[in-house]
Amino acid sequence: MFKQKLLIGLALAVSLVFAGTAYAQTLKIGLKSEPSSMDPHYHNLTPNNMMALYVFDRLILQDSKQNLKPGLAVSWKNVDDLTWEFKLRSGVKWHDGSDFTADDVAFTIGRAPNVPNSPSSLGRYIKQVTGVEVVDALTIRMKTAKPFPLMPTYMSTFGIISKKTGSGATTADYNSGKAMNGTGPFKSVEWVPGDRIVYKRNENYWGNKPEWSDIIVKPLSNNSSRVAALLAGDVDMIDFVPTADIETLKKNDKVSISQTVSNRVIYLHIDTARDKSPFVTDINGKPMDKNPLKDLRVRKAISKAINRKGIVEKVMEGVAIPAGQLLPDGFFAISPNLKVEPYDPEGAKALLKEAGWGDGFGLTIQGPNNRYVNDAKIVQAIAQMLTRIGIKTKVDTMPKNVFFPRGSKLEFSLMLVGWGAGSGEPSSPLGSLLHTYDKSKGFGSSNRGRFSNAELDAALEEALATVDRKKHGDLLIKATEIGINNLGIIPLHFQVNTWATRKGLKYDARTDEQTLAVGVKTAN
């Protein structure tokens, strides 16, 4: 009986294997993280936003370097200081065959910030829109209460859904595939949580048609398993190649590597506000009533004590770029004046002495151990370096689920964190990390060191209300320089992200860390 079943099974399997060979244009992708839903507006987090891009286009798209490019909108402009006008692409069809119009955009603006039970909504990008006016089928205007220069950037953060399909649709309808009606390059086939997401090509796509007729995305969260799956041929491509394996993979002639610097800066956040900081002790480990970290000279000493090049070479195995500010070169509003702090342990000791801490003090550095590339190792390396200039440093690393809640409760004195600027410009880290914590204005929500500088606040707030692009950029640069020169945070390095594909494929590596099937091409 069992034997018979097994035979049937075998026959079935064999036929499946042969059927499988017919799909030569299938691309299998192994990803580190899996989305929590297929609903493009349910959970504002990179894996969700990224997978939504397969099916749902945005008004404005970001190219691989996060420059804005036309998406469902072909052009946009300020009609006046308080009004943005978007001209929409004509002839675009939804996957179900109906026409894309401005009504769909208006519907999306209404729905996206208000998904029930959303653990993190898109409201942040939409709340400045005080009114939507559908001028004609292909023109839409958005009103704001204040001048809002970031409008196009924010409009590039969420997918447009169909009014027809989306009316009354719940998150569950997106998960089941019922409401997965987009205009994007791929149509949704199925989602088996934890196992796979399957797409097929949208043959009527308005843009460049992707090379792949079928896409299978598999979540492979363990680093080594992900690499092993690529080497074993289970998948054609993986993201977040662990730094330890890059050298070997480069030598492997079955594999190609694609790399680019990311918009993610890894930095130290410092308790600059309190007189008594929880993890600052005297040199013998006894609690202290003074917080040396409030002294700019001490912070400067810490920055000088860090051998960024050493960390990049040895801990990151060359796959990172030493950082001197919030975003790497090539992004918008980069300060030409800020340089990477050179490694200078003697200068650091001298500064400590000058500040009255020549005998050193005790400190604990906290960091996550499963969030950023090699996070726990970087924390240890920094502790080594600080110990060498006389700051006796202990290390405490923990999983991100413990780390972030504790960090937000201000339980730490010195911590390693990372920040990816999803918008591709510095207002995002400036507003969240360095602006004074201000609940009413919505600034400083991730300012876990509670750095505060009135000049920076003013420059940033002015920038956010300046529509003129040049002036807007200059103000951002000014704010960045104030923040970095006062060491509100100590930047360490920018992550370089690595994708590996089987030989013969090439990926247009993205600074926003996303893996999009449209960017995968056969190399000639």
Partner: protein
């Protein structure tokens, strides 16, 4: 029976025990290895060229050196170094210390607590039994990894904390095993005889019931010491447990794990071998002990 007679009797028993144990050469070899390992663990600071737990002595510029290379501090990394520039040989010496300590401490505390409850339950039966076994059920129904995960998330990191977590997941196991065996023993003739003689509870439990429960218990203890060390490694692998700056063998393996595919085998391989040798020796000795101590296998 006088006191003197008892002492003589115990001495001969011990001698017989030793000669029985020595019958297996491989077990003796295992015992010798354990002794050596314990000595290494105790004298680790004297044997190591570096204190791998002192961050001030490490230099990342010495990171990932292959075995035999000389680092910046001037001494040779005989087994190479890990990503932090930690000498693997020193790391293994110190790691042995931590792993053995954690494994043995947690297993014995758990053994003590668990078997006490198990015996109580089996011997008294009735309400005592059902209450204790309900608690055991609750405990066992939490999967070990999960209890440890949640416990450690709340407690934080440290050797003491991981011992608490390991005891918490292991004691019920002993309780259940002891109770199972003791239930069988309880219905045997010698127990009924003991009860008929109206011996007191303490005497029956400790002189009659417990010794007869020993053989399966020893099997479980050997398995559990090994299991404790391995569980500790797994917890380290999942990112909780011991602080990264004071690695046990398990943590050393976990740290080197990501370098396996890239050919930097020494970071994970040598601690793996040390762990393997340790556990195999413990188990060899445990096996032989069980055979020797089992009254039913005596010829």
């Amino acid at each position: 029976m006088t006191v003197g007679v008892e002492i003589i009797k115990e001495e001969t028993l011990l001698r017989r025990f030793i000669s029985d144990f020595a019958q297996s050469k491989i077990a003796v070899a295992g015992l010798c290895t354990i002794v050596v390992i314990i000595l290494i663990a105790i004298f680790a600071p004297l044997l190591s060229s570096q204190n791998p737990y002192d961050l001030g002595q490490l230099d990342i510029m010495d990171g990932r050196l292959p075995p035999g290379e000389v680092g910046g501090a001037g001494f040779t990394f005989w087994l190479g170094s890990d990503d932090q520039g930690r000498d693997m040989l020193s790391g293994i010496f110190y790691g042995l210390r931590t792993s053995l300590g954690v494994g043995a401490m947690s297993a014995f505390i758990a053994l003590f607590i668990g078997s006490s409850f198990g015996l109580l339950a089996a011997y008294f039966g009735g309400r005592v039994d059902s209450i204790i076994m309900r608690i055991v059920d609750i405990q066992l129904s939490f999967p070990a990894v999960l209890v440890a995960l949640v416990l450690l998330a709340i407690l934080g990191k440290g050797v003491d904390k991981i011992i608490i977590a390991l005891v918490a997941v292991q004691w019920a196991y002993y309780a259940r095993t002891v109770r199972g065996t003791a239930l069988v023993e309880r219905s045997k003739e010698y127990m009924e005889a003991a009860r008929c003689l109206a011996l007191n509870h303490k005497r029956i439990v400790f002189r009659h019931l417990l010794p007869n429960c020993m053989p399966p218990l020893i099997v479980v203890v050997t398995v559990q010491v090994a299991h404790a060390i391995s569980l500790e490694a797994t917890l380290s692998f999942l990112g909780i447990g011991l602080p990264v700056t004071e690695p046990s063998l398990g943590l050393l393996i976990a740290n080197g794990f990501e370098y396996m595919l890239s050919g930097k085998y020494w970071i994970s391989f040598f601690p793996g071998i040390a762990l393997l040798v340790t556990i195999v020796s413990i188990n060899l000795v445990g096996d032989q002990l069980r055979d020797v101590m089992n009254p039913r296998l005596q010829k």
